[in-house]
């Protein structure tokens, strides 16, 4: 299948302030793509360019082969959108809002819509301004999914949802993926991305620093090996071995903690030269990997 979302060299600045710079990635049809980044990294700017709410200074953004700005109408027929900060007419009820957006989209399957309302247990009779933040989020989620769009662009979609509704959302995303539709999900909740996405892009300070499969992203992470010996072993015995980034001696030298960024083969062979009483390997979560990226590791260091 070809790329459903294609972004090339996208740049946008707000006067003198940074927006995004030279952002490139592609999302295949049927893929659930996670777009990760801290606050202010440029996630929403990228999304708003895909929605033709912002016009890029340079570069291109296309969905299903259509330019997002020049052919915005065609693009918008294909997408469902959840904004990061839902702002809707505060005086309309949830039901009225869904009816309004259904009409603006030329009508929707009302049975499917009713099913979505039931799944999220949304009370349609309250006005938008009277909803809790979680219920406001449900309204915008339902309006994004209700017309079964080919592409879903979701900006922090589960913010404010309780665990049960987050679970329901995960199911909905999986169903969407299983139907061959595409999901572009911006988030900073790693577990959400880890569970639902097939590929991930990380953006930091307006630039893409990594794009790859979730497993591939995990591959770049460092891990730790802790080895307990029967006798004191000097750290120098392991320092400089292939795959070893750092060695720390603890417990008076009977235990060594190795920070790894490569294969453990050389370490295992070196450890076999001594009496090993224990060996544990700790694999950091994607969360830790993600945080390390945000802590200023040079771009592409892990590539």
């Amino acid at each position: 299948m070809g790329a459903m979302i294609e972004v090339r060299g996208l740049t946008k600045s707000y006067g003198g302030k940074r927006g995004i710079a030279d952002v490139s990635f592609s999302v295949e049809a049927g893929e659930v793509f996670g777009f990760l980044g801290p606050n202010g990294a440029g996630k929403t700017t990228t999304i708003r360019i895909l929605l033709a709410l912002l016009r890029a200074d340079s570069g291109s953004a296309g969905i299903a082969g259509h330019d997002c700005w020049e052919q915005s109408l065609t693009v918008k027929k294909l997408i469902g959108y959840v904004p990061g900060e839902p702002a809707l007419d505060p005086n309309l009820t949830g039901g009225q809002l869904l009816e309004y957006f259904a009409n603006l989209r030329g009508g929707v399957d009302r049975t499917y819509l009713k099913g979505l309302v039931d799944r999220f247990e949304l009370d349609l009779g309250r006005k938008f301004r009277q909803y809790s933040s979680g219920n406001k989020r449900k309204v915008v989620l339902i309006q994004a999914f209700m017309h079964r769009p080919e592409v879903l662009i979701l900006d922090e979609p589960t913010s404010g949802l309780d665990p049960l509704n987050q679970q329901e959302f995960d199911h909905l995303v999986r169903e969407t993926r299983d139907e061959g539709r595409t999901v572009f999900l911006s988030s900073h909740i790693l577990s959400e991305v880890e569970h639902t996405c097939t590929r991930v892009g990380i953006i930091r300070e307006g630039r893409i620093v990594r794009v790859g499969g979730v497993e591939e992203i995990k591959d770049i992470k460092r891990y730790e090996i802790t080895i307990s010996f029967a006798e004191v072993v000097p750290p120098e015995a392991f320092a400089g071995l292939p795959g070893v980034a750092a060695v720390a001696s603890i417990d008076s030298g009977r235990e060594l903690r190795l920070s790894m960024n490569g294969a453990a083969d050389a370490v295992v062979k070196a450890a076999a030269q001594h009496r090993v009483v224990g060996l544990t390997s700790h694999e950091p979560s994607l969360e830790e990997t993600f945080l390390r990226y945000y802590e200023g590791e040079p771009e592409g260091a892990a590539n």
Partner: protein, 545 residues
């Protein structure tokens, strides 16, 4: 520095209003004051002015109109009271408005008591009103000095204080009502309606003798007890005290209710102010939700109703009273030719002086329609500012279509207002036996639409660059400037090129001279150009929160 306390933050939020309202009201008075010498150029003109003022005593007390200060107060009458609109809006916003947006939840989470937060906000509104009063007083004094008026700086500052106190009463009333209403707009609407009622109640005692007790129910009566610009009349301390007392009582009552109720809740009443809390829990079918046009029109339904009531009611009232005035004016005009010339200058002249009089009063109708247009273009701008267009633009709707659909709804509302106004005036004219040319009445009612369209188009156009407050403020300033040019310009014999800068010039005097097709086509062409530029801008701009 301006963000170090709730008081300073609220005052900072009011800085545009302080400058806008202070300069706006001040310059209105300044312009009339400097025009005064031209109006009373001869003794005959002075006499004519005093005579015609008596005919308009129902609108404003004709007190010493042959003096600069008396003339200025009479000329604007209740118009200066429009200042009350700002505290009326501000006081419903500072508590109820912030409760609606959730901003008050955050503010009340800091270690400050509710009373202190509310008092700081109200103190800022009060300070802003005093600053507006100061600006109005200083500009008025400058106008008086230029016109050689006999009032002092203290007198002009007393006028500012009188105005500020009246405005404070309306603000306190709005604050009080907002304790019972679920929505800010409900409180604003009710307080606005009461404001109009107070203006009318004050008029009663000038029309019917022995009905002064009715007028005493209105704060406007106490405002009018002071005429600081007329030194022989002076400032009424008791009038100011009543206004101050009303402000204190209403504010204290509102605060007492506020500290006892839930944040976001209301003080229970036997009837519900505003919409019901809960509607039917199902997905509805409604024509009002079918398109951007239908939704915008439905949202404007209540404002359109109230504005129609105001504009059509005012037009009907004018037609009804003109019959009573016509005979007196005709006889006066025969004995005082300058009066005839004056009415001719303002109303456009014609075979009937009554018609000329009506024509001059009809100038207020397009002004009111333009004010309506400002409120509606304000909604468009605030929708964009507050991010409500984001999801609409994420649906398969072209940007030009979205904007034009919204504009078309405003046009529809204005058509409803104009056509209703026409129907009311025709009916009243028939019932009262006023011999008006039906064709010209049709022209007067319908040709005000292009003026409203122009203001709305300008508002949509400016929204391409400006935030809501600045867009609305600038648009209001432009309309006031246009009105002053047409209202005072002829008296000052301003050059034709200046008079032509105001769209009111092209509205002309349709009741007397009928429609000048070229002028209307020109206005519509201007509307088309401004709207096209607005659409072009909206199609290319970044839509942001």
């Amino acid at each position: 520095m301006l963000l170090t306390s709730v008081y300073l933050k609220t005052l900072r939020d009011a800085r545009v209003a302080i400058a806008g309202w202070g300069l706006g009201i001040g310059l209105m008075l300044y312009t009339v004051l400097i025009a005064y010498q031209d109006v009373i150029a001869t003794p005959a003109a002075r006499e004519a002015l005093a005579t015609v003022a008596k005919q308009f005593s129902w609108l404003a007390a004709p007190l010493a109109v042959d003096t600069a200060g008396g003339y200025a107060l009479f000329k604007y009458g209740p118009l200066v009271l429009l200042l009350a609109l700002w505290p009326l809006l501000a006081c419903s916003r500072i508590l109820r408005g912030e409760e609606e947006t959730g901003a008050l939840d955050v503010l009340l989470s800091v270690p400050r008591g509710r009373v202190r937060v509310a008092v700081e906000k109200l103190a800022a509104v009060g300070t802003a009103l005093l600053l507006i009063a100061l600006v109005v007083g200083l500009i008025t004094y400058a106008g008086g000095a230029k016109a050689g008026a006999d009032f002092t700086l203290g007198d002009s500052l007393a006028l500012g204080l009188d105005l500020a106190l009246f405005a404070a009463v309306m603000g306190a009333l709005s604050l009080f009502i907002s304790q019972f209403a679920r929505e800010r707009r409900t409180a604003t609407g009710i307080a606005g309606g009461l404001f109009l009622l107070f203006v009318v109640l004050d008029m009663v005692h000038r029309v019917y003798s022995g009905a002064e007790w009715i007028s005493r129910l209105s704060p406007v009566y106490y405002f009018n007890e002071s005429k600081p610009l007329v030194p022989s009349y002076g400032t009424s301390v008791s009038g100011l005290a009543v206004l101050f007392g009303l402000t204190v009582v209403l504010t204290a009552a509102a605060l007492a209710l506020f500290v006892r109720r839930d944040v976001g809740g209301t003080v229970p009443l036997p009837i519900t102010l505003g919409d019901d809390e809960k509607a039917a829990g199902e997905i509805p079918h409604s024509w009002a939700l079918r398109s951007v046009y239908a939704r915008t029109l439905a949202r404007a339904a209540w404002p359109t109703f109230w504005w129609t009531l105001g504009i059509a009611g005012f037009a009907g009232w004018l037609v009804a009273i003109v019959k009573q005035l016509e005979d007196q004016i005709n006889s006066l005009a025969q004995s005082t030719p300058v009066l005839a010339q004056m009415l001719t200058k303002v109303g456009g002249g014609g075979t009937s002086l009554g018609t000329a009089l009506l024509s001059s009063l009809f100038t207020f109708l397009p002004l009111m329609l333009m004010a309506f247009a400002i409120t509606q273009s304000n909604r468009w701008t605030s929708d964009e500012d507050e991010g409500r267009l984001e999801l609409v633009l994420a649906t398969p709707q072209q940007r030009p279509r979205v904007m034009l659909a919204s504009y078309a709804a405003v046009v529809t509302s204005m058509l409803i207002i104009a056509v209703t106004t026409l129907a009311v005036t025709l009916t009243v004219a028939a019932l009262a036996g006023v011999p008006l040319d039906a064709g010209r009445l049709v022209a007067a009612a319908l040709t005000m639409i292009p003026l409203g369209l122009l203001v709305a188009a300008l508002g949509y156009f400016l929204s391409g660059w400006l935030r809501t407050a600045i867009d609305t403020g600038l648009l209001s300033l432009v309309v006031v400037a246009w009105f002053v040019i047409s209202f005072v310009g002829p008296e000052l014999s301003w050059p034709d090129v200046t008079l032509r800068a105001s769209p009111f010039y092209y509205y002309g005097t349709p009741l007397v001279h009928g429609v000048q097709a070229g002028d209307i086509v020109g206005l519509l062409a201007a509307v088309a150009v401004v709207l096209a530029l607005g659409v072009l801008r909206f199609s290319r701009k970044d839509v942001s929160i």
